[in-house]
């Protein structure tokens, strides 16, 4: 297998793009990435997306975006793994290049959650869960995570307010990210008064859904022309778990995160200490806490304590959500995994907005989770700075 | 040929179960909304039961049926008919019995058509079940009377239109908790209360529903039953009549020579309202909850349109052995959660969107 490099990144701002179709968003991000990579051609396109069929009545995104972008004929497919679709597409791009079969491919994530007006996005997201035995009974994605959060609070006997520090951190960082959906901070007071969606998860515990597109250009390391800005992909590992929450062996343990992280660290030949920052999947504050624990960084209780002390801030020991994460930057579902990697690359190149730049980052870990933890894609990237 | 309806094989009730939802709305609350409580000294009953937003005749029949099965202690597949009488079948076409049979494990070798005869649909089902088993066609049959009655907002009947009912498994005398002595059905064309296809609420003839309807039909069925069986009022331990309110069944019972200790135990409408097809039979289950071996029980329904079914049952030793296995009727009656008119209107679909 060949060494793999990311040489170009592209993203559109995360927001409600009423005026842009799914094709337009995708092509924009792809062109930004090609420009950034200083390349004209790709021979493979891997599109991560979850809801185009349900919301835009459009499947077949691989072929569609390829021809819209001016590359009819190339290998192109849509990859779906719920909210992990983006990183899952990245995985396919990495494999295509590592295998030696492809010379220059794009991994693209795109999502248009505002395609239908009304409640439909919520219905779409619920498809990440078990249709027969979760969704059809009235479970929403938020409700599932709320049950996890409630059980956690019960078992660990902690105050709900402690979780506020995570969305607050995300917003503090998002403020300086011009592509982030939110550009304002939030206070503890606002958190405590926020509207309940499914008790105990309120509006400020949950990442916002919106439209977005992000892309990467991936080539064999041997073909890298500008070594300085290239980022090496040391690992990209996918693990799955039982889809339905009630089938998990331990409700509060994200087994998929544990498995995927261990696998990624092993492939990269690194340990937790080596990771400079962690773009985790903070769809909900409870998920941040459980991810940090299952990934092996520190226990959930410790994470809840340390977040209050700045442990995860830009200048802290383990920065997370450096550009706002899912909560601050936004969660355009199928595109999120690619946004995480785009942001990690910016950091590793030293090109993050100044207040958000992690000092001398070497190794980045990104983690994209599908559903309530049933698909987990963990990637480790190495900067050249 | 005798007027009495009684099958060749001796049959009886081998299992019974009640169901009343937990929600109640006080009639004073309804009066507050519609009449500024002007009639608060003339309310027909204290409160009525309201089905929860996830309940209907099918779900309630499933629970009553489960209770009956527990008491009967039989394999559900031995039941060969599931007949549900109601004015509020969830489907106009697709019998409630098909869902209830599937849910109780009674499928697939059974019949399951719906019955309707206003408030006596439940006893119509019971008559049919008695005949089915009594003829030897089936070892067991399940007869249910259940309703989620809808009252037209602001109408007098809104005070009493309630939800609930009962299920009976009919089987051979040898296993019966109460054996059938005889039955009699009396029916005429009397349009005291009816509902046309596609109409949401029924029409009723106000005072016409009294003497020419309720009183005439129950008087006729019960008097004939008692004469043919050579029984007097004092031969019965307890009775349960159709109970649309407190006044009618009390007046009827007294006219026919029954005393309060005979009719009060089965008179549930003051606390739960008129459960329509479930009414007389729900009262009857309350009697089964307390009757002793040898007690004779009278059940008489009234259904608008109109008719009355009257039955005489005699309790066996077996009743006391099985009645504690499932919730008593009193348990359901006592289980109360009061709601206000706005919640009631929302749940009962009375708010136009």
């Amino acid at each position: 297998m060949k060494k793999v490099a990311i040489i170009g990144i592209g993203q559109v701002p995360v927001r409600e793009h009423w005026d842009q179709s799914i094709k337009a968003l995708a092509v924009q991000a792809l062109f930004h990435a090609l420009e950034d990579a200083n390349r004209d051609e790709i021979d493979g396109l891997y599109v991560g997306n979850m809801l185009s069929g349900r919301l835009s009545e459009q499947e077949h995104l691989g072929a569609l975006i390829a021809e819209q972008a001016g590359f009819p004929g190339i290998e192109a497919v849509k990859i779906e793994a719920a909210c992990a679709s983006g990183a899952a597409a990245f995985r396919q791009a990495v494999l295509a290049v590592a295998s030696g079969r492809k010379k220059c491919v794009a991994a693209l994530g795109v999502e248009k959650l505002t395609e239908l007006s009304g409640w439909h996005a919520s219905d779409g997201l619920a498809m990440a869960a078990d249709a027969d035995f979760e969704t059809s009974l009235g479970l929403t994605f938020v409700a599932l995570n709320a049950m996890v959060m409630r059980r956690f609070i019960f078992e660990h006997n902690v105050k709900r307010e402690l979780f506020a520090a995570f969305p607050m951190l995300a917003h503090r960082n998002a403020r300086y990210n011009p592509n982030a959906m939110f550009q304002h901070e939030i206070s503890l007071n606002q958190y405590q008064q926020a509207k309940m969606i499914a008790d105990p998860i309120n509006l400020l515990d949950s990442s916002p859904i919106a439209d977005g597109a992000a892309a990467l250009i991936v080539v064999p390391w041997d073909d890298v022309r500008d070594q300085h800005s290239a980022v090496e992909v040391l690992a990209c590992e996918v693990a799955t778990d039982y889809v339905a929450l009630h089938d998990r062996t331990n409700l509060l343990h994200l087994a998929g995160v544990e498995q995927s992280t261990k696998s990624a660290l092993k492939t990269a030949g690194l340990s937790h200490r080596d990771i400079s920052f962690f773009e985790l999947h903070d769809a909900f504050s409870i998920m941040s806490v459980l991810s940090l624990e299952a990934a092996g960084f520190l226990s959930a209780e410790e994470a809840l304590k340390k977040v209050q002390e700045g442990y995860f801030d830009i200048g802290g020991t383990l920065p997370i959500a450096t550009m706002g994460g899912l909560k601050g930057r936004g969660h355009p579902v199928g595109a999120t995994g690619l946004y995480q990697i785009v942001e990690a690359v910016l950091q590793l190149r030293g090109k993050a907005p100044t207040p958000l730049q992690v000092a001398e980052p070497r190794f980045a870990m990104t983690q994209n989770i599908g559903g309530t933890g049933a698909t987990v894609v963990t990637s480790i990237l190495k900067g050249q700075m | 040929m005798s007027a009495i309806l009684k099958p060749i094989k001796s049959v009886g009730i081998v299992g019974y179960g009640a169901y009343v939802p937990r929600y109640r709305i006080k009639t004073a609350e309804i009066s507050r909304v519609w009449r500024d409580e002007q009639d608060r000294y003339h309310l027909p009953i204290k409160q009525k039961s309201v089905p929860g937003p996830d309940e209907d005749t099918i779900t309630m029949s499933i629970e009553a049926g489960k209770n009956a099965l527990k008491r009967a202690g039989i394999d559900p597949r031995e039941i060969r008919a599931v007949w549900i009488g109601s004015e509020s079948h969830p489907y106009a076409v697709k019998p409630s019995g098909t869902v209830v049979a599937q849910a109780l494990g009674i499928y697939p070798a059974n019949t399951a058509g719906d019955l309707e005869f206003a408030c006596k649909a439940g006893t119509e089902a019971l008559q049919a079940a008695l005949g089915y088993v009594g003829s030897g066609m089936a070892s067991y049959a399940l007869a249910i009377g259940m309703d989620t009655a809808q009252g037209r907002p602001g109408d007098a009947l809104e005070y009493t239109a309630a939800a609930g009912g009962a299920a009976f498994i009919v089987g051979a005398e040898a296993q019966a908790l109460a054996v059938l002595e005889g039955a009699y059905s009396y029916v005429t064309d009397t349009p005291d209360f009816f509902r046309r296809n596609y109409e949401k609420y029924p029409q009723h003839g106000n005072r016409f529903t009294g003497d020419p309807a309720y009183f005439h039909h129950i008087r006729s069925s019960v008097t004939t039953l008692m004469e043919e069986l050579r029984l007097r009022a004092s031969d019965f331990k307890f009775i349960s009549f159709h109970q649309p309110n407190t006044k009618f069944p009390t007046k009827m019972a007294q006219e026919l020579g029954f005393k309060p200790e005979q009719y009060v135990p089965g008179l549930l409408s003051p606390k739960v309202g008129n459960t329509y097809a479930g009414s007389s039979i729900l009262g009857f289950t309350a009697l089964l909850d307390r009757a002793q071996p040898g007690d004779r029980l009278l059940l008489a329904s009234f259904g608008s349109g109109a008719g009355s079914d009257a039955f005489s049952f005699v309790v066996t030793e077996r009743l006391a052995q099985v009645r504690e296995i499932a919730p008593s009727t009193e348990w359901y009656v006592q289980r109360e959660r009061s709601i206000d008119y706005s919640t009631y209107a929302r749940w009962r679909g009375k708010i136009r969107k």
């Binding site: 059809s136 309940m196 008790d199 | 629970e63 849910a103």
Partner: protein, 132 residues
């Protein structure tokens, strides 16, 4: 109308029919094809008693389209007494009275109706266990 799918699931929805492994005795609900414990394929149908305890729960205030008119409602993770855990709505109980650990039992209730002219879907929900 998702009638075929609903119809296929009725034994699960109405009578909590799952599977038990003939090799190792492990219970599963919903039914499985492969035993999650020992990977055997020798699974037989098994009807659960319906008795269980609340493991976690939440009150849903905003939801998917088909349940819009039902909010707020309670959903829970329930541990059945035979072992498996399942997800279901709670009914006949006020949100303030639900506790982790409380004993519950299965009842069949209405899930939703497809408008006024479509099918009605029924299935399991759980209510506080009654003493019978």
């Amino acid at each position: 109308m998702d009638i075929p799918r609903y119809w296929r699931l009725k034994d699960q929805r109405y009578r909590l029919q799952g599977t038990v492994c003939s090799s190792c005795g492990h219970y599963s609900f919903p039914p499985r094809i492969v035993c999650p414990r020992c990977k055997s394929k020798a699974l037989r149908p098994y009807e659960f008693s319906g008795k269980g305890k609340v493991f976690s729960f939440t009150v849903v205030y905003q939801t998917i389209e088909r349940y819009q008119d039902k909010v707020p409602y309670i959903v829970a993770l329930i541990d059945l007494e035979e072992g498996p855990r399942l997800t279901a709505q709670l009914t006949d109980v006020d949100a303030g009275d639900v506790q982790i650990g409380m004993p519950v039992e299965m009842v069949v209730r209405k899930y939703y109706e497809e408008n006024t002219d479509g099918p009605i879907f029924y299935g399991y929900k759980f209510r506080p266990a009654i003493p019978f």
